[in-house]
Symmetry: D2
Subunit: 312 residues, 4 copies
């Protein structure tokens, strides 16, 4: 037996009332496939959160807020575990919808979408969102936009901070309250963007697409270390990983929860090793990808890491 074989797989036994942290430790001793990867993700994320020299990026893609995962993100933000948040516009749209008191509902993916259309229900896989939520959303958004100073220029994160400051719960509220910048490079690509287009038909405020870059790059050039928690791929993953590319450094920690696959070539499913070739993450970076649905992997990871954080 060679040196390569020194840590044996331990058959996993569950016990009633075990904590999530205990289960994760048992999954680590089993140690294979994505179960083993999830254990390593907990280890890396724990170290990343405890490393005070590290700027903590969080990437949020996929329809996570409609699936109830927004609570984890706002808790992490209010706990000081997110320094920079990069999100799709859709997640922020749904965050606003919840924050203004509208609800998403449990539905089913096996249904007649034309019937749903007639019932004025929008479907996100097995989540239903009544159309009327968008009426409240429009009213709210136009109200916020209406307070923008005419002829002014604003960054995307500035716009999102304005929105967050009008809310009392959720991701944008928490981020605004804790001064966590929220970047959303493709904000036009969302209902927020469509509402802004409506507003812009009769108002003149310029949203400067690149106004967020200087502050972000400043952080990237000055931070000692950087860490990335990536939920889903898309723009948030790429925008976070590329942010260190112009600096002499790269990410020192990276955890990726994705449902995509690497062999299609797309960035969303690309391994973090691929990111090493680019220098997006450092050669020595602690990095792991967990393949699977983040509605399972994110809660388990978050619960296990919070359990460990409390123990200290």
């Amino acid at each position: 037996m060679t040196r390569q074989c020194d840590e044996p797989v331990t058959q996993l036994h569950v016990k009633p009332a075990m904590t999530v942290g205990e289960l994760i430790d048992a999954m680590g001793k089993a140690g294979a496939y994505n179960g083993g990867a999830l254990y390593r993700a907990v280890n890396i994320y724990e170290r990343m959160l405890k490393d005070e020299e590290t700027t903590k990026f969080f990437g949020l893609a996929g329809a996570m807020v409609p699936a109830g995962m927004g609570g984890i993100v706002s808790d992490l933000a209010s706990g000081g575990h997110i320094d920079i948040l990069v999100s799709t516009g859709a997640n922020l749209t749904h965050d606003i919808i919840e924050a203004i008191g509208c609800k998403h509902f449990h539905g089913t993916a096996f249904c007649d979408d034309i019937e749903l259309r007639h019932d004025e229900i929008n479907r996100i896989y097995d989540v239903y969102l009544p159309n009327e939520a968008f009426e409240h959303f429009e009213e709210f958004m136009q109200g916020v936009f209406g307070e923008l100073e005419p002829q002014s220029r604003i960054s995307i994160s500035g716009l999102l901070r304005r929105i967050g400051s009008h809310l009392k719960s959720g991701i944008l509220h928490t981020a605004a309250h804790n001064e966590v910048p929220v970047y959303c490079p493709a904000v036009q690509d969302s209902m927020i963007g469509l509402q802004y287009w409506l507003f812009s038909q009769t108002n003149q405020v310029t949203v400067d697409a690149f106004a967020d870059m200087p502050a972000l790059m400043e952080t990237c050039f000055t931070t000692k270390k950087a860490g990335a928690m990536l939920v889903g791929g898309g723009v948030p993953k790429n925008f976070i990983l590329q942010s260190m590319l112009m600096t002499p450094n790269g990410f020192n920690y990276a955890v990726q929860l994705t449902g995509d696959r690497p062999d299609l070539g797309g960035l969303s499913g690309a391994t973090l090793d691929e990111a090493r070739s680019w220098g997006k993450i450092t050669e020595e970076a602690q990095a792991v990808t967990v393949y699977g649905d983040a509605t399972i992997t994110l809660p388990v990871l978050a619960a296990a890491v919070m359990e460990r954080m409390q123990h200290d």
Copy 2:
């Protein structure tokens, strides 16, 4: 808002030291995608295990034992939660290997397989199994086979029970000890089968491919209800689901943990709704599919169900 929208998505908040059961309940209130499906799987499996009129089938496919998931299966068997086990030959091979004292090891999927070959290490994704394990395996298997009565005829489950009765731990041991029949329709397709072929070159015992069918069909025709827990797809899933096909009934409960996808047409990824069209599961059956890696979904499901079982 219509009748279709009555159960809202609740944003999930994790708490330090929450139990797996508590996390699952929170995932159920979030309720979307595979996280929501996993919650429903816990509900259905709990009801299935508590239903004393139900014959409980367990299907085991995918390289689960090398990944440490065998412990969950043997615990379920010793706890009386498995009446009939259907497995691939590979899982049983690896179960024997562990039971005779050999080990699987934590490795990596990103390695040089030719180098591993030179080091006499066999790889299963990121699990390593030294070749020498197969030397012990051969010795053990030939010993067991050598006790078979010459010129006799034996069923596959009979052969596996013989093997299990020579072991002191693991799935086959537990099944033999608890008189749980283990079916393995494709036993030739495994190292057990290759060892049997070696034995058969100088010995004459007939393994009757169909000798297990009468007892299985007898159970299917006489049970009041039937439930299926399916880990992976393959032969175990199909063999279990087809077993009720000749009877006037079908499965009343079905939980499927699979990493496959339905649109490729293969049975492994097929939805359980598809099984309704065949009558494999009843029209009213409680059934759910959780897509994802069973090294994550199986431990979470098992821990949550065991937690609930204890509460009663």
Copy 3:
């Protein structure tokens, strides 16, 4: 036998030297799973291209240009088959790289990324891109940006048209030459964006994030019909589908080639039926999703459709 069973599956027989169109027709007679879907995609895309009342959108996500798929896109654009192109910034970056004479190379995904890093090679799954390409890219981009009028304001599509007008081949060149607008909502999220940030450190031109919306919305409100060919998901898919959302209409044709899966809830893998509930596509829209790698499905689809177009 019911009315539901009237078109039989025909076993497929290949013949030497059959054309792609002939093979697709045979796959249509077989008609199942993604092979059948690909046949239907050919039918729908053919009808869409031939429908002169239809505005033709093309969404380009995933690392398609590094994989050699850019040629198909520029051919479609020069053939008049794309009215509006929405792309990720990455695809446009790689398009520019090729257009300025740099090359991507055949590599392998099973390699040592740290070694690649030392060799100054960036990896995209099994495609290699030498770092020096980015040196030429920087020189080119800074040259283009340097011609922008100081203190001016520009839209993203305007910026991309400027770039394209400096090139002699590729997607951006062809689009600029044929006056096809190219939208790239998340242009910051790409090497184009990083180059622009470099430029903006010493120059003041405002890229107005929303400046493209009026023209796009004008088209959406005035077109009789709309069709979408979606390669990959991400921002291009969402941005295209949402564009009709504010109008009384929706897309009449939609073809989606994606490697994602629906059960994760993300838009990239969402079915087009889901889009019907939102009204993004019409109730009567002809729509189909083909799951698979677009480096296979796109060439086959394009070749078959071009074959049919020629026959008319």
Copy 4:
């Protein structure tokens, strides 16, 4: 630029009426992801078929016959391109159904399965199979089984050859006519198996599970070279790959078309490199995996290889 970068990606341009072989060559010059892999698969399969020293194995898993892919398999068998066929029982069941004149039908995956149940239609993703086909199937199978000599012993391949000799088309017919052995280790796990169980209630013929092993192993030990074309994973893939494991050799050629993914640890999605560590394929073996739906990849591959074979 290093030695690693010598073969550039060529942007792909489709031409009307190009043959499948021409398209594959263009996909090879693009050369990335699964499109590039499919080109390499064509190369390897062509060499394998032309290598007269090679025993050609074909593995058939997944519901390929209901999807019309059986025609390709029987054509390959009648063309002398298959020496040993290993199949799931389901594919052979559906092959028999077609050969006795029943049909599968184009359906839809988005339907009410309980309604289908009431209409006596069995669903395989988007393929429909009326129940009455199984009535004809039962009649045919009982007729074939009724001719078995009482008290005799038969191998699985022997049983399948008997069935094939009663048919006039399809895979089993072609295999029987061309003396291609068909192995189906899990024959019990299929409607063939259930019919045999019915027969066995009143008749005594022993199907010897291991009776096929000696001839198979004899071939494996004596062949100079071995090649494997694997459509899907499951028992056929494993049974084929393990067959060379007891010999000093391994497979020299291997092509795998699979929709699974490697990170779940299961054999169906495992890379062929993994098989090198076991010695199932040789260190120098030409091997490639194409991820995707075989209803697309198999026809394209078969058409391209047949085109090349004709050119010689």
